[in-house]
């Protein structure tokens, strides 16, 4: 079904969703837009290009507490931190980010051990995908076309949204989405004109061009493997890299984490926090040996992991071309350019 | 129940700690709120100790060292003076009340002065109230 709401009435829609569960939507912050839990429906802001941090935090929070314990007390007395079973609405997710969830599912929701935290959150979430504004120019950093993703792809969303001048159109893509839309009273049925606009937008989305290079993932994966020992190349492309970790934190597909036991006096919490292979001590071993002390080794690891090892193990590149890494990099390193250059070596 | 502050005192071994001992042997009375930790020299003090102490719930931090010029290691307290002065400015700019961190030069023979400083500082912290800004809330 296709529903719609006037743009001024989006706060009403937000309030309705807040009644049903937790609403995570883009809000304007000092440095740009980011997904946040909405407490005030007026704060929902769909006038953005893309958020600074990716929405992976909805399923894989930056910090997640697991167990609270007391040193000196038996393990059986440790308390598991309960997960909030409320439904979650992820509102305003761009198609490239929606695609990233299915790639992340490989690690958290399949392949052996299921991560209960990720999978529970995933089950409880309804995803409102949101088409890029085809009337505005594409950001120079994006390259999701190279990864087979287009500006108005509905795949992976439960509901897909397209903005017109006056309205927000919402189409149900999955049964979950359909059920939800049917129950939202602030929405009205869309007419034939809207249906046409919606379908055309999906079509036009396929023609909305980002930077593009033909990335045949097997070719790229093999080439990266072949130039692994080309220290000159890797030193050259990493010469500017600060090895800070921003690219990892903003990336929708990076999933490394560290488990820490943070104890103060006798009380503590076991939690997981995001980790980054770009950090100097990421591969520091208990013996003191660190196989990746040089920046070029770490940058090579990052690129190889996403474009080579991930392809070999899981059959898909661990990147959706959202451009966040390039936009956030303090020294303007561009992963797309490095992959391109690597092909030419 | 009135507020009894918890104050961390860091005293250098050769002067202030010895001065504290003197205060003890001369049976001087002073408030018991200061928990004293002994270091060999005031320049041993890593400013992170001060930040950590505040995070762990100290209501005030008092550092005691030898008078400049009299350091047992000649120059230690001269470095400490500069270093801890910047720490003080940092805490103040962050918004921690300046009265919560104090550096005093107390020599080994100044038992009276030690008791006096403890008395003064404890009263000052009592007036400032519990330190809640940096304290880690459980």
């Amino acid at each position: 079904m296709l529903k719609k709401t006037a743009i001024e009435k989006i706060p009403e829609l937000a309030a309705a969703l807040m009644d049903k569960g937790s609403l995570l939507a883009p809000v304007k912050e000092a440095s740009g837009h980011n997904f946040a839990e909405i407490k005030d429906p007026q704060k929902v802001d769909l006038n953005f290009y893309n958020t600074i941090l990716s929405p992976k935090g909805a399923f894989f929070p930056h910090k997640e507490d697991f167990v609270k314990y007391n040193t000196g007390k038996p393990v059986s007395e440790a308390e598991e931190v309960a997960m909030d079973p409320k439904p979650v609405f992820l509102f305003g997710v761009r198609p490239c980010d929606v695609k990233s969830f299915s790639i992340m599912d490989i690690h958290f929701n399949a392949a052996g051990i299921i991560d209960p935290y990720w999978s529970q959150r995933r089950k409880a979430a309804t995803i409102f995908g949101y088409a890029f504004d085809l009337n505005k120019p594409v950001d120079a950093a994006d390259f999701y076309n190279s990864l087979g993703i287009y500006a108005a792809d509905t795949e992976g969303s439960d509901v897909f949204m397209v903005k017109t001048d006056k309205d927000l159109l919402l189409k149900s893509i999955t049964p979950k989405g359909e059920e939800l839309l049917a129950g939202l009273n602030t929405l009205v049925d869309a007419g034939a004109v809207d249906e046409k606009y919606f379908e055309e937008t999906l079509k036009k989305g396929k023609e909305y061009k980002t930077r593009f290079q033909c990335i045949d993932q097997d070719v790229v994966a093999k080439k990266l493997e072949a130039i692994f020992n080309n220290t000159d190349f890797w030193t050259k492309v990493s010469s500017a890299c600060l090895s800070c970790g921003i690219c990892t934190f903003v990336c929708p597909n990076c999933y490394c984490f560290d488990i820490c036991d943070d104890t103060m006096f006798s009380k503590g919490t076991r939690r997981r926090v995001w980790d980054a292979c770009m950090f100097t001590d990421f591969t520091l071993e208990a013996s003191g040996h660190n196989p990746r002390t040089q920046v070029f080794q770490r940058l090579r690891q990052k690129i190889n992991h996403k474009y080579s090892y991930h392809v070999k193990k899981y059959g898909v590149i661990s990147c959706v071309g959202c451009g966040r890494c390039t936009r956030s990099c303090p020294v303007n390193i561009d992963i797309y350019s490095i992959v391109e250059e690597a092909q030419k070596v | 129940m009135s507020f009894e502050p918890k104050i961390l005192g860091i005293a250098c071994n050769w002067c202030t700690y010895t001065g504290a001992d003197l205060a003890g042997t001369t049976r001087l009375q002073y408030p018991t709120n200061v928990r004293v930790v002994r270091v060999m020299c005031s320049s041993r003090i890593n400013p992170s100790f001060i930040f950590r102490a505040l995070q762990f719930g100290a209501d005030g931090v008092l550092v005691g060292g030898c008078h400049p010029g009299d350091c047992h290691y000649n120059t230690g307290n001269l470095y400490a003076r500069r270093r801890l002065a910047t720490t003080k400015k940092i805490l103040e700019f962050a918004g921690i009340e300046p009265g919560r961190f104090r550096v005093e030069w107390i020599s080994a023979s100044e038992g009276n002065r030690f008791a006096e400083v403890i008395e003064e500082f404890t009263t000052q912290i009592k007036n400032l109230g519990p330190q809640t800004k940096m304290k880690i809330q459980e």
């Binding site: 800070c244 934190f249 | 400013p47 801890l84 910047t86 103040e92």
Partner: protein, 287 residues
């Protein structure tokens, strides 16, 4: 108005000369990024590399950051804007690099722009100086006659706040921190290996991106940079959540200047203020 094209020309000329003659092994300058507003730090190692060098108003990176990556003794030429030259001076003071191994290509410049916001960069977020303090070759005309605003004027508003307001401000700013450590990596003075925050014995702060760890990390970093920060503003430009770190660093720099009568990174004859003392130091600084 700074002639960026001319500076780029001169930079390329000097780089070519230095690399051709073998006087230096590497020239640290700027190169093309994925578009004109996003140049990248660039290390030219051969004459062929020189043609990739660019210089424009978006070349805000402090190349001194990369000096410590090269083995001691490497002969390096480095393009330095005013604050960057102070960074090199400070590193010489701290004996991380030797003066005789550096060739400083000084760039007098005014009118740099922040690519993220498009705003002009001035003394409100950096040291505001327009001429390098140390150089071997000057790539452009020295800039005279510009009214120099004090780099500490921007602090007045925060110094006027009472303690409660200041704490509120800093707590809310530092709580935004996601612990990406870009500030540390962008800073030319943060070269400690291992950094205190990565140490487990003792563990100064936990890794979670929230206070108290955030507060501990930043306050300690402000302390570690006391008297060393040269106010280039890179930390704040690198920050993905826009924490105004430059404000705090400026305040500490201002206090150090007042207390110890020495600004950081001005002369290679100076010793850094916290590894020095003067007999005239007064106890007043502890009040």
């Amino acid at each position: 108005m700074t002639d960026f094209k001319k500076i780029e020309e001169n930079l390329k000329k000097e780089a070519k000369r230095l690399l051709e003659s073998g006087e230096v092994a590497v020239v640290l300058a700027y190169g093309k990024g994925f578009d004109e507003q996003h140049p990248m730090p660039y290390a030219a190692k051969s004459v062929a590399d020189v043609e990739n060098i660019v210089f424009n108003e978006y070349c805000t990176h402090n190349m001194a950051r990369y000096l410590v990556r090269y083995p001691q003794g490497t002969k390096i030429a480095i393009a330095v804007k005013p604050a960057d030259s102070r960074a090199v001076v400070q590193l010489i003071q701290e004996e991380k690099v030797k003066r005789e191994n550096m060739v400083l290509l000084g760039i007098p410049v005014s009118g740099m722009k922040n690519a993220k916001t498009g705003e002009a960069i001035d003394s409100q977020t950096t040291c505001g100086m327009v001429n390098p303090v140390l150089y071997d070759v000057l790539l452009g005309e020295e800039i005279h006659g510009q009214k120099a605003a004090s780099p500490y004027d921007v602090l007045a508003k925060y110094e006027a706040m009472d303690h409660e307001a200041r704490w509120e401000f800093w707590k809310s700013q530092l709580d935004k921190c996601i612990r990406c450590y870009a500030c540390r990596k962008a800073c030319p003075m943060c070269y400690c290996d291992p950094c205190f925050i990565d140490q487990l014995k003792p563990k100064w702060a936990d890794k979670a991106p929230q206070s108290p760890g955030n507060m501990m990390y930043h306050l300690t970093r402000f302390q570690h940079l006391a008297g060393r920060c040269i106010d280039c503003g890179e930390c704040s430009r690198a920050c993905p959540v826009d924490i105004p770190l430059y404000l705090f660093h400026k305040k500490v720099a201002k206090e150090c200047e007042e207390m110890f009568k020495q600004a950081s990174g001005m002369s290679i004859e100076d010793k850094p203020v916290l590894v020095n003392f003067r007999v005239e130091d007064s106890d007043k600084i502890l009040e």
